[in-house]
Amino acid sequence: MARSKKPAVDRRDFLKSVAAGAATLAAPAEILRAQPVAPQPPLAMPLMPPVIETDPPADVEVLTEGRAGSDFMVDVLKYLGLEYICAVAASSFRGLQESVINYGDNQNPEFITCLHEESSVAMGHGYAKVEGKPLGIFAHGTVGLQHAAMAVYNAYCDRVPVYMIVSNVLDATLRDPGYGDWVHSAQDEGAIVRDYMKWDDIPISLPHFAESAVRAYKLAMTPPMGPVLLVVDSELQENPIREGTNQSIPKLTLPSPPQGDSGAVAEAARLLVQAENPVIVVDRAARTQAGIEHLVELAEALQAPVIDMGGRMNFPSRHPLNQSARRGALIPNADVILGLEVKDFWSALNSFHDQVHRSTRPIMKSGAKLISITTNDLNIKANYQDFSRYTGVDLAMAADAEATLPSLIEETKRQTTADRKRVFQDRGAKLALAHQQAVEQVWTNATYGWDASPISTARLAAELWAQIKDQDWSLVSGTGFVTALQLWSFDKHYQFLGSSGGGGVGYGAPAAAGAALANRKHGRLSVNIQNDGDLLFAPSVLWTSAHHHIPLLSVMHNNRAYHEELMHVQRMACRRNRGLDRAKIGSTFVDPNVDFAKLAQGYGLYAEGPITDPKELGPALKRAIAVVKRGEPAFLDVVSQPR
């Protein structure tokens, strides 16, 4: 569908109508009465007095001369290198918004128009995982932050830097006595999200703002990363800068991440080198391409299998030492297990049965040594339980895994003798053979249900891969349900971003848009496999991607249900022996089916669908990718199988 760029009201027509309206308002009352006029509806507002006072009234607006407080704030945001501000426009930060678009020339940062604060934050979440740094998010006092809260929680759980500014009218005597300022102000705005914020502050002066803004950025970017919040008073934003105000910006220096101490690293290397069956478990181990390469170097030095839990792009999917699906076979035989930034180490080492009497059992063998390198314990809070079960380990380093890898590699190589090298080579050869057999099995598995309708997720993944494999692509969705993505070869840090972290639904679409925004300047093809249930939470981010020309290919995994929840109801019905006739009540999106293509078209996107015939998928993908390559978002509604 061609996207119209013509505004709904032509500017020239708009000005004519304004001029006519103004003339009417200014016309003497006698003339108006003399004209034959059609019956008019009652006026909603009083007319402007016909006689304009010649002397300014005492309460006339005083124009700001020089710079406003929010201009300085924008200077600070520019210093921090924020490329974008994602925000839903709101009165409480009108000063900042005006400064961004006029004083700051709407460049670095550029204002990105969002339509839901949850989407603003999720866009920042996705952006940060590609770009390795935050963008800025503005939100309205109280209600805007409340809307944003779930997305903030996701970012907190996912250890992603999100940089937020919300507004408040601190001085109650200056609040508009009408409704807005009072209900959108709070004694302590940060309390709304403090349980899952890394840090927050309420600066009461511009020098205080500068200091806290730089501190917030530094804390957000220090592993373990996380969201930060500044609550900025509206008066401080809107008023002119007082003469003599200190307008210096403190220097930003990002600290080097914490590394494991040399003794602990040497001991870890000793255990790994001496182990007969070491296993490396990774989750959020790599933040950068260098992190991936270091992890490959460590695994190859040991010829040890790597089990990737998928929190980030950690390890190349086609590498012979990638043994992720063999967790059940490898963990029970392991004598040393190294966990690198594993958010839930316990789950990697134990099984859990969801039955009437819930049961767990270790899958690792007794006496196996556990080594953990993670920053998880460096920022842990009490209320929300995202820290998961406690795992007793033999050697724990409260350190950043990526930063510790170089010294661990060096120590491992130093301790490796020729004899151990031969053992490693034998081990690696066996693992490589298992990997190769497994890859061939994946391709064979994809043939089952190949021509089925609804389209199998394997077919969807294969058709997509055929179109993107020769391009510089980035999968910007945390699509865990389409496991046939094993058909793809992942080896770049931006090719896989992990999931939401907190499991808050509604993350997928805006996070994909934010990641695509980050990918845009790099010329990457951003691909989003979009879950239907997720999109239905806050679809308006589609408009944001159209408005800001964010090139993003979204392919629906439209299975018309919350299938995981449907499975839970099935489980309960089976457990209670009540039959499954009604199991779908409350979990499916049928009768009527949602027409996602029309939805996307309504937001201004090129869209096709619903696509139910697998033979139509490849050609549709080609057409959609052509649109994306022209710099616009494109959307395909693919009716697919549940998993």
Binding site: Q441, A446, G449, W450, A462, C574, L580
Partner: protein, 131 residues
């Protein structure tokens, strides 16, 4: 042999994410365990198709029994009917048990017939984009 597996919600997404990076996923059965053709004739494949959907088997195993992250491939060439029925009644993994009250023995045979009737997939070499 575990032929069904349903993961808890707490682990499902994380597991699925992990498996994207794994080379192995859906395990089929081996040839030695395949059913005899006569077993399929005991059931009504059409009714099996209906109840396969109605009872939600497709949720974990795909509409064609092809398997997914949540459960292995079931057809074509399912495991013997007796073993199939036994497992569905008393699964050892995270799959919920389906008693005879929920799925009768005849329905079990129908399900089996449906799975046995699934077409064999095209050969890998005949699918250009999988070459």
């Amino acid at each position: 042999m575990k032929i069904f597996r349903v993961y808890s919600s707490a682990n499902l997404v994380a597991l699925a994410m992990a498996l994207i990076f794994s080379p192995i996923r859906v395990k089929g059965q081996n040839a030695a365990q395949a059913s005899k053709p006569s077993e399929a004739s005991a059931g009504n494949a059409e009714n099996g198709k209906r109840i396969y959907t109605k009872y939600g088997c497709y949720e974990c195993h795909g509409l064609e029994g092809q398997g997914a992250v949540t459960g292995p491939r079931l057809g074509p060439d399912p495991i013997p009917l007796k073993a199939f029925t036994s497992y569905v009644r008393n699964p050892t993994g995270n799959m919920p048990p389906y008693t005879a009250k929920v799925v009768s023995d005849q329905e079990m045979a129908d399900l089996f017939a449906f799975l046995a009737a699934r077409p064999h997939p095209p050969a890998l070499k005949n699918i250009p984009i999988l070459k």
